[in-house]
Amino acid sequence: MGQLFAVEIIYRGVFQKTLAKGICRGIVLAAHEEGKPGISFGRYGDSPERNGIPAKSFAIVANDEQTLEAGMAQYEPKQVDVAVVLDDTLCKGAESWGWYGLETVNKTIKPNGTMIVVSLQDPDSLLHTIHAKPQPYKLAVLKGIASFSGMWVYKDDHTDVRVLGAIAKALPELVSLQSIEKFIKDKLKNDLKVTSAHVAYERFSTIEVAPGTGNTEEPFHFDLPGWQALRHGVSVDGVTDRGGAYADPVTGQLGGFRPGRNDKFKKYTTRTMRPVVNFETCTKCTLCWLNCPDASFDVTPDGTYDANLEACCGCGICEAVCPVSNCITMVNESAFQDNASQWEAFRKDKAGYTVWLKTVVVPVGERSHGFRYRGQYKEQIPAALEIAKG
């Protein structure tokens, strides 16, 4: 039995589908240059066609056909040599679209394997959100923003070849830099991209992540029932809790309304951004609460609206409909460590919350994902290129 190599690309559905697919193609075609057979495929159930959903693409390469077939015999690799995360907000988790609990982002990395994250953060700050793993692995950051490269309306920013260069450094047994460069020259026909891959290769460095290092929170999970325990008729238990008033954490007074919600359906890692609410500027107009497609706003006992982060998928409609300029702001999810209620924090410590708001909502109105006006992405390209240059 020869050697089998597996790489997974974890990405956001639709926006990064072409990018992820392109990277996997690059791996397989470059390895093919070295006489190694390979295949690439997407994790089907993830629904990569759906907006922002965490999804995975894989490249499997082997020394010989029989070993490759043994790798292909699995629905998807149970263990990978390299995992690439194309959006650092996915460090919180990369569960499939069915939300079968929370799948940690580093779940499939082999002991001493490598995780490469495209991010502006440094590895240590990423480790605050990445769940701890019992086995050691290596972590590397490829400096960059979450790229939409490959979507037809966005410019190419070389993220694809930079990742390929990094993979060649992380796992030279899989594919050499020379093969990557040859692939870029022959298939992508772009000499500047060859340089980008080369620079990424040269600058690539990892840190060792010791067992147990990282976010020690127990990931949300539940067990799938057997066929005899399932209800018949393709029916599931509904939410019987109709919801109701809840207590103010300071006065203990009951008020407001929090609807009952499905306790097995939490949208933690769907979000790339979350709404941050300034309760002092809120005019209680109800528009966020009315327009939220997921009914994720709780009416607080004092009549304001608190985005419940177990239910919020981070779509940003609340921000768009809020008539107050500095009340709801969508902020990059990587700025947060938990899903606790903002309103409770505000009630407990108004001054502290105001200070926190200022640190989080900077600069007001600048989105980290998605765009406010036509051409914004193009404007960001020079800055992204500067980052890439290091």
Partner: protein, 412 residues
């Protein structure tokens, strides 16, 4: 002068096949381009929709010239190509799961009208529950209606079989549709290296579609599909029956010609045998489950367990006589059904029931045929699952009584 003439063989070599890293869906789209399909109708449903995406891309890029019609639903989708085909157009169509079912009325009339349509079925579980994963019940729903049904297990085979399907369907002795079944995800969405035949090769293999006296055209004054009563129906059905009598020999002929022109060998067109020569027992199944089965068999062989595998390609026509002759060599047969047939004899899946039926006539050996229901709704057919099925079949081969139908890989 003779020295200046380039031999025909040399000429052929110059137009070499290109290799590309593509999905099974992309491979079929390229086959449609090479087959110079005239009319394509589309309506999205996973996993079939990747084919329509690739075809629309080929058309947008100016690589393929065809009418591309996005219908308002699968029923119209299949009706439009049916009519186009009667007017002499080479057509392509496809769907998945409940989309295929929604087209059912059009599907039922297509064989009787002698329409050589090629349709791709991206096998998908039938809703409810809504699921994308592979199950073979969608394509199998037309098994009794005069459609030819073929399953493939690689992108290369998908491309080649799409070309073969046109040749088979448009053979004047046939003129019936072919459904090319591809397992959702495993085949439709996986990229592997595929050899793309040259246009010259395809031209040689696939003559233009000639509908002859069945062409609906002002110069050929006919009327198609009038209302009839009991005075007519049985004779019409008998004509379709005649096609099924011919199908096996036509398909064999087409594969032989494919091998001659393209140089790729598929051996027996109807089923592929893997490590069966000295096998005590065999597993039998269709589609991409072949990968975990082959890997497991290699592992079991290392332990001295003589298991083989028979991968059925053509389910319609069902090469019953030939398959029976092969299966009688073994002590037991374990059929892996990626489908269900509730209430069937022995409550087995569709394929197991057909295999038992094929083995019944004659005085030859009748090995026990065990039915396994496995991998429904896209569930992975795991290596331990295959090993378990092989072990049960080996036990049956030793004469130990086993249940005729078992569910494998089920949460209890």
């Amino acid at each position: 002068m003779a020295t200046l003439t380039v031999p025909v063989e040399e000429k052929k070599k110059k137009k070499v096949e290109q290799e590309a890293l593509i999905t099974g869906a992309e491979a079929i789209a390229i086959a449609c381009k090479l087959a110079n399909v005239d009319v394509v109708t589309a309506y999205p449903i996973r996993p079939y929709d990747t084919v329509m995406q690739y075809i629309s891309q080929l058309k947008a890029d100016g690589e393929m010239d065809c009418e591309y019609i996005v219908a308002e639903g699968e029923h119209s989708q299949f009706e439009i190509v049916k009519h186009a085909s009667v007017c002499g157009a080479r057509v392509f169509c496809g769907s998945s799961g409940v989309g295929w079912m929604y087209a059912m009325e059009a599907l039922t009339v297509t064989p009787a009208l002698r329409v050589p349509m090629v349709a791709m079925v991206g096998n998908r579980a039938l809703d409810d529950p809504g699921a994308f994963g592979v199950e073979h019940n969608d394509a199998l729903a037309v098994r009794d209606l005069g459609w030819n049904l073929v399953w493939v297990d690689s992108a290369q085979e998908a491309l080649d079989t799409a070309l073969i399907a046109y040749r088979v369907a448009e053979d004047r002795r046939m003129f019936v549709p072919v459904a090319l079944s591809c397992d959702g995800a495993f085949l439709t969405h996986s990229q592997s290296l595929v050899k793309i035949p040259t246009q010259e090769q395809v031209k040689e293999f696939l003559p233009p579609y000639n509908r002859g006296d069945l062409l609906l055209h002002p110069d050929n004054v006919i009327s198609v599909a009038p209302q009839v009563n009991e005075d007519w129906v049985m004779e019409i059905r008998r004509q379709n029956f005649q096609v099924t009598e011919r199908a096996v020999s036509v398909i064999r002929e087409v594969y032989a010609d494919f091998e001659r022109i393209f140089g790729r060998k598929y051996g027996n067109p109807f089923f592929e045998e893997y490590m069966t020569e000295d096998a005590d027992v065999v597993l039998l199944g269709m589609g991409t489950m072949s990968t975990p089965v082959r890997v497991t068999i290699r592992k079991m062989r290392e332990q001295g367990l003589k298991v083989g595998f028979v991968r059925l390609r053509w389910f319609r026509p069902f090469a019953g006589e030939e398959l029976a002759k092969t299966l009688r060599r073994f002590k037991a047969v374990g059929v892996i059904d990626r489908d269900f047939s509730f209430g069937s004899p022995h409550l087995s899946g569709v394929v197991a029931t057909e295999v038992r039926s094929a083995l019944y006539p004659g005085d030859g050996a009748k090995p026990p045929v065990l039915g396994f229901i496995c991998g429904l709704g896209g569930r992975e057919v795991t290596l331990p699952d295959v090993e378990k099925m092989a072990e049960i079949t080996l036990e049956a081969g030793k004469g130990k009584s086993q249940p005729l139908t078992q569910w494998i890989g089920l949460r209890g």
